[in-house]
């Protein structure tokens, strides 16, 4: 009996030790060791920056060999929640100032955010414009299938602002969780029209036609970028932000349809 007790006790000790070790581990971010040696910059960027930041990443890595830029793309609100929740990230590029401000208020930003790009809204329709949409007023047509981004996504907020400015009560059929899914459904012809960013219509990966929104009704989206307080690679992170704000960075942004301050 004593032998059995001893065996059981040691097994329990091993279990507890394993649990303690696991708890002490910071999690997956810690297994890479010192990131500054590896030169990894984790950039949390709004999904509307998907295409342009891919190009920025390529250009930056070319002139900074030894630094690996990793893009974490999602809706700005999701990214904000991640950062507030303590998720590891070095840089935050948001699609609106609202989400950035929340991160700033929480004290998670190192220094001050800078607006690096601007975007305008545009109506997107499937190729060939089968529903013959011409203006925002058409969004009030019940017979059309209209999609917007969800309200809590910057694209959705701005789209609604534009509609309000135009005095249109849109009859919406779906509030998509991201600009990407909205574009996909417009591309597929399942939706007749939606409001997206100008850059989305211009980007080569989209197969949609764009209809301009008149200046009077349009809304400017401002994109701020900042290095985060908890960055594990602050030096390379700062380099990245500087690159985005540099002439080379601005050239790429213009190429993709953004306007720069």
């Amino acid at each position: 009996m004593t032998v059995m007790k001893g065996r059981r006790a040691s097994l329990v000790c091993w279990l507890i030790a394993a649990l303690v070790l696991a708890a002490c581990n910071d999690g997956p971010a810690n297994d890479g060791g010192d990131d500054s040696l590896n030169g990894q910059v984790l950039v949390s960027a709004a999904s509307s920056l998907s295409d342009v930041f891919a190009a920025v990443e390529e250009a930056f890595e070319e002139s900074n060999p030894g630094v690996d830029v990793v893009l974490n793309l999602a809706g700005s609100a999701s990214l904000r929640e991640q950062i507030l929740g303590g998720a590891p990230a070095d840089v935050f590029a948001s699609a609106d100032t609202l989400n950035m401000d929340r991160v700033v208020d929480a004290g998670d930003v190192d220094g001050l955010p800078r607006v690096f790009a601007r975007n305008l809204m545009r109506i997107a329709v499937p190729v060939g414009n089968p529903a013959e949409v011409t203006e925002l007023a058409d969004f009030a047509d019940e017979n059309l299938l209209i999609g917007l981004c969800a309200e809590n996504v910057p694209c959705g907020d701005l789209g609604r602002q534009a509609l309000e400015k135009a005095g249109v009560s849109a009859v919406v059929d779906t509030n998509e969780a991201s600009v990407r899914s909205l574009l996909t459904k417009i591309e597929a012809g399942e939706l007749d029209a939606g409001i997206v960013y100008v850059t989305d219509v211009a980007s080569t990966s989209g197969d949609v036609e764009g209809i301009a929104i008149p200046q009077a009704h349009n809304v400017v989206a401002e994109y701020p970028i900042a290095v985060l307080d908890g960055a594990r690679n602050p030096n390379d992170a700062a380099d990245f932000v500087a690159f985005v704000l540099s002439d080379e960075g601005r050239e790429i942004l213009i190429e993709y349809g953004f306007s720069v301050p």
Binding site: T2, L11, V12, R80, E81, L145, N175, E176, E190
Partner: protein
């Protein structure tokens, strides 16, 4: 030394310590997230939140779509299960594989497939739309179809398994007692697979109730028309935490109730 002589009866009745520790850890996997949810709940505001439009609409839609999916699964799934279990037709194993497919592919992929098939420009959706003007995506029916797609396999597989395990001698005995084919099905086959059928229905309902990816991809997201509870939680999570928590609580409460109540009454092994 004295331990060896001590009475061993009591000790041997207790389960082994290692098992207990592991079991508690296993339980923690389920309980801790629940505790997190309860800790975050704004208890004082809860009644107001639960009465909000978003919540009521989402609840209504979840109930409609999950029950609708369960009903469709029963009506179409039971005959399909019977065919798979009893009839030897060419390509039977392929058909069974197809039935299992929604269990394996990511729900979003399922939703996309539904869009390609039943959307306005879809393989079947396009002619359907031109002929009848019917548009399935972005409608409540679309939501029902999306959750049916992911949930029905549960029913088919459960019932097929039960039918296969049914000793064919019972149906033979019924036949020798004068029962025709329909009578055998009605009085012997289905009563005997009854418990499995109910278990299958519960599983189907539960899966339909929790579906997210296929719904948002095929039916879209619109409050009052297609925004079921899971979709509402997802959207609310980033902008209105308190509502998200309230919605989550409802889902947990309903699911727990159904599973606990039905488990006691129907999950008896024959």
């Amino acid at each position: 030394m004295t331990e060896a002589l001590a009475p061993t009866r009591r000790r041997s009745r207790r389960p082994p310590l290692v098992l207990v520790v592991l079991a508690i850890l296993g339980l923690a996997v389920f309980v801790i997230p629940l505790l997190g949810l309860l800790a975050r709940t704004p208890w004082r505001d809860l009644p107001t939140l639960l009465a909000g439009d978003v919540v009521i609409d989402a609840l209504r839609l979840s109930v409609i779509t999950s029950l609708g999916a369960t009903a469709i699964s029963a009506v179409l799934g039971v005959p399909l299960a019977w065919m798979l279990a009893r009839v030897e037709f060419p390509g039977r194993s392929i058909v069974r594989g197809l039935v299992l497919l929604p269990l394996v592919i990511p729900p979003v992929v399922g939703g996309a497939a539904l869009l390609f098939a039943l959307g306005r420009r879809g393989l079947i959706g396009e002619p359907l739309n031109r002929a009848t003007g019917l548009v399935l995506p972005f409608s409540t029916w679309g939501a029902v179809i999306a959750v049916t797609f992911v949930a029905m396999p549960f029913l088919v597989i459960t019932v097929e398994g039960a039918l296969r395990n049914l000793d064919p001698r019972f149906e033979g005995a019924a036949a020798t007692l004068g029962a025709g084919r329909w009578t055998v099905l009605r009085r012997v086959t289905f009563p005997m697979v009854g418990p499995s059928l109910v278990a299958g229905l519960v599983l189907t309902w539960a899966r339909a109730f929790g579906e997210f990816g296929a719904t948002i991809t095929f039916a879209g997201n619109l409050e009052g028309r297609t925004q079921t509870l899971p979709l509402a939680v997802f959207i609310a999570l980033e902008s209105d935490r308190d509502t998200a928590v309230a919605l989550s609580l409802i889902m947990v409460a309903i699911s727990l109730t159904v599973l606990v109540v039905l488990r006691e009454r129907w999950w008896k092994t024959p």
